[in-house]
């Protein structure tokens, strides 16, 4: 019983972190049909920006609670600055081209961003551990958890519900859905598809940066943080179905729980557990758990 609860909690906290990042990835794919490898770079930018913003809060000697606001603002700042620059300045020139070309473009961007972050923030690590201790510790059974880990669970739920509600219950969401189904028809109905693309990409960047910003207090922010998260996020969206929000949530939960189970029971299969689940899902449902089979347009 104790082990099951521990696996559940560990899986849930890990899944929450993954979901926030993977949600942005799946949203961008759903709307723009871009498998955005640079998503990991936006995650790293969010972490670096959060480190800087929280540093300012500390310098100004504001109450530690403000560091949470600073992290949120850092993610917004990255989205506002980087998303239009990337989408308008680079990606739009490749719309309509082969999806593989877009993958290569975002991969090139990923490599450039790795050096750009190093140029701006240098190679030395940044620490913003103050927010990590804001919520104290929680004792469950023989385990002590940091309260901040549960904040990530709450954040993931809030973000997931907000995005679902925006897409399914608002006029703007219906417009985005129309663009997802057919940009051509949406365009002929008077929808400014390029604007929808830009906004959707902005939300995607924001979610990646938000994931990075709220992870920053748990890690040392330094070159290379962008790599691991993007690979795991791909696994999540492939399991859930590319472009599906529900899929990202379920995919993240499956990955989180499978990994937690492996770490506790068969540690040597930690990484294997994630990809064996992915392989199994692809065998049974090649399009992912939540993506409907679509007719190919000719």
């Amino acid at each position: 019983m104790g082990l099951a609860v521990t696996i559940l909690i560990d899986g849930l906290t890990y899944a929450s972190w993954l979901f926030i990042v993977a949600l942005g990835l799946t949203l961008v794919f759903g709307v723009l049909k871009i498998l955005n490898i640079a998503h990991g770079s936006f995650y790293a930018l969010g972490a670096y920006a959060a480190a800087t913003f929280v540093g300012w809060v500390a310098t100004m000697k504001w109450a530690p609670g403000w560091s949470l606001v600073a992290m949120l603002l850092a993610a917004i700042a990255i989205a506002v600055l980087i998303a239009p620059l990337t989408e308008r300045g680079l990606l739009r020139f490749f719309y309509g081209h082969d999806e593989v070309l877009l993958v290569l473009v975002t991969y090139a961007l990923f490599l450039c961003m790795e050096d750009i972050t190093k140029l701006i923030w240098g190679a030395n690590p940044y620490y913003v551990s103050e927010p990590y201790s804001l919520f104290g510790n929680v004792e469950i059974g023989n385990q002590i958890y940091v309260g901040y880990d549960f904040l990530l669970v709450v954040l993931a739920v809030v973000v997931g519900v907000a995005v679902w509600w925006a897409l399914n219950r608002t006029r703007q969401g219906k417009i985005v859905t129309a663009v997802i189904h057919s940009p051509e028809i949406a365009s002929s109905m008077g929808i400014q598809v390029s604007k929808v693309y830009m906004h959707a990409f902005g939300v995607g960047v924001f979610l990646a940066a938000l994931g990075g910003a709220f992870t920053a207090p748990m890690i040392s922010v330094q070159p290379g943080v962008s790599v691991g998260v993007i690979i795991l996020s791909f696994a999540v969206v492939i399991i859930g179905g590319l472009g599906s929000i529900e899929g990202a949530a379920i995919g993240a939960l499956i990955v989180g729980l499978a990994r937690a189970f492996a770490v506790h029971v068969v540690p040597v299969a930690e990484l294997f557990s994630i990809y064996v689940v992915m392989a199994f899902v692809l065998m049974v449902r090649p399009e992912g758990l939540f993506q409907r089979i679509q007719a190919r347009k000719i």
């Binding site: 890990y14 940091v146 992870t215 540690p267």
Partner: protein
């Protein structure tokens, strides 16, 4: 007639000037080119690659100005200026093989000093050997390179990883740390797996009753250790061993210390010194750690170490930890080998063969003590090492290392012609610890 003679004189003068300039130019171009390969980007850059390159820059500059202390005080290498090219190790072993070929073939470097990653070392060593080019591996830890292969042109000027874990186990024993059970967390690649195995073999001999428990092998660069920490805490043990390093180690400490792991178990870190300057008071007091040599705060007192510590600290605003120390001992060894070879060949730039002959079986003083090339047919170094405990010094605002114990090289390294695994399994035969 006068005009002809003047013209002739002018031509002679011009020719002489041209020849003199050419010879001067040739003299000026006679530099010793070193390719320095280390991580300048990626996850290993901050902890290892960049500090090591910073160390190389400090030393090359001091060598070229003739400012290093004796016996390293000749300008450059035997008067020949040193030119260093810095190459990024990031990108995987295949890329490194290509980069190494480029350094030798296109850049015409006289020696390459590099490689942090054990996988990179295993990949490039046979290539340098095949090309008959001089290569010093300055950092990577896997013992397999010289235990499984024989090289003429490839050297490693630092001890391999076996030393780190034998020293840790010996330290625990000598300090009477009670260990009935121990957990482990190591990265799932050559370094982590070798370290884990060496520690287990050492514990089997020194603590025969101690039982290994949790054996976590997260991937390199995992970053999130919440689940692994839960697993380590779910099966409490007297000791937690780890060879994590860089950002992984920093994240592990930041995530596990608030959860009380360091209070429940004695944590021992085989390569943990390099996170002390950056993590500061986040490192729990009493953590037992090594530096993969007598480096940084555990370096022995010497004039050479004082000079190195001050030069590096002044240039980089932080004290040197293990990676720059290992770079320093590689470059100091190369300098002495180059000068020895030049003394034997009449002062000419040494060939790869002459450099190799000079470095083989040699020994030299480094800021971390004596380096001796006694293993792997004279191509693999041994050195003394040290282990200690951390304590946050609020006055100095830095983590200090106290209760330091030094281990002679012969106490914690296998003898020549004996593989590490065999030596550990046999219970360290021939070890000289006093």
């Amino acid at each position: 007639m006068r005009n002809v003679s003047t013209r002739k004189n002018f031509r002679t003068l011009a020719l002489t000037t041209a020849l003199a300039s050419a010879s001067l130019l040739a003299g000026a171009q006679e530099t010793f080119k070193i390719g320095v390969v280390s991580f300048l980007s990626g996850q290993a850059a901050e902890s290892f690659g960049i500090p090591a390159v910073n160390g190389a820059k400090v030393l090359v500059d001091a060598f070229n100005k003739g400012q290093a202390p004796a016996p390293y005080n000749k300008k450059g290498f035997g008067g020949m200026p040193i030119e260093a090219l810095y190459i990024d190790e990031n990108g995987g072993a295949t890329k490194q093989v290509q980069e190494l070929r480029n350094l030798y073939d296109r850049e015409k470097v006289d020696a390459v000093v590099g490689y942090v990653g054990s996988g990179d070392c295993l990949a490039v060593a046979p290539v340098a050997e095949e090309m008959k080019k001089f290569l010093i591996l300055y950092d990577c830890g896997t013992p397999r390179i010289f235990e499984d292969g024989k090289y003429n042109y490839v050297f490693r000027t630092a001890a391999h990883a076996t030393m780190d874990n034998v020293a840790l186990a010996r330290y625990l024993k000598s300090r009477n740390v009670p260990v009935k059970s121990y957990n482990m967390i190591n990265q799932d690649y050559a370094w982590g797996q070798d370290s884990r195995k060496d520690f287990m073999f050492s514990m089997e001999k020194l603590y025969p009753d101690a039982k290994p428990g949790e054996d976590q092998l997260p991937k390199f660069g995992a970053g999130q250790y919440g689940t692994e920490i839960s697993a380590l805490m779910a099966k409490p043990a007297d000791l937690v061993h780890s060879s994590l390093w860089g950002g992984d180690l920093q994240a592990f400490i930041m995530q596990s210390a608030p959860r009380g792991l360091f209070k429940r178990s004695q944590v021992v870190l085989s390569a943990g010194d390099h996170v002390l300057p950056s993590l500061g008071e986040k490192v729990p007091d009493g953590t037992i750690l090594g530096a993969r040599g007598a480096y940084g705060l555990m370096a022995p007192k010497s004039a050479l170490n004082d000079w190195w510590w001050e030069s590096y600290s002044k240039a980089n605003n932080v004290y040197p930890v293990q990676a720059p120390y290992r770079m320093a001992q590689a470059l100091l060894g190369l300098k002495l080998a180059a000068e020895k070879a030049m003394a034997a060949n009449g002062g000419k730039k040494p060939t790869a063969e002459q450099l190799a002959a000079a470095l083989k079986n040699s020994e030299w003083d480094s800021p971390a003590g004596k380096i001796r090339m006694t293993l792997g047919g004279g191509n693999q170094a041994i050195q003394e090492t040290a282990i200690g405990r951390t304590r946050w010094d609020a006055g100095k605002k830095m983590v200090m290392i106290e209760d330091i114990q030094r281990f002679p090289a012969e106490c914690v390294n296998p003898p020549a012609n004996m593989k590490s695994d065999d030596w550990l399994k046999a219970g360290f035969p021939g070890a000289k610890c006093n």
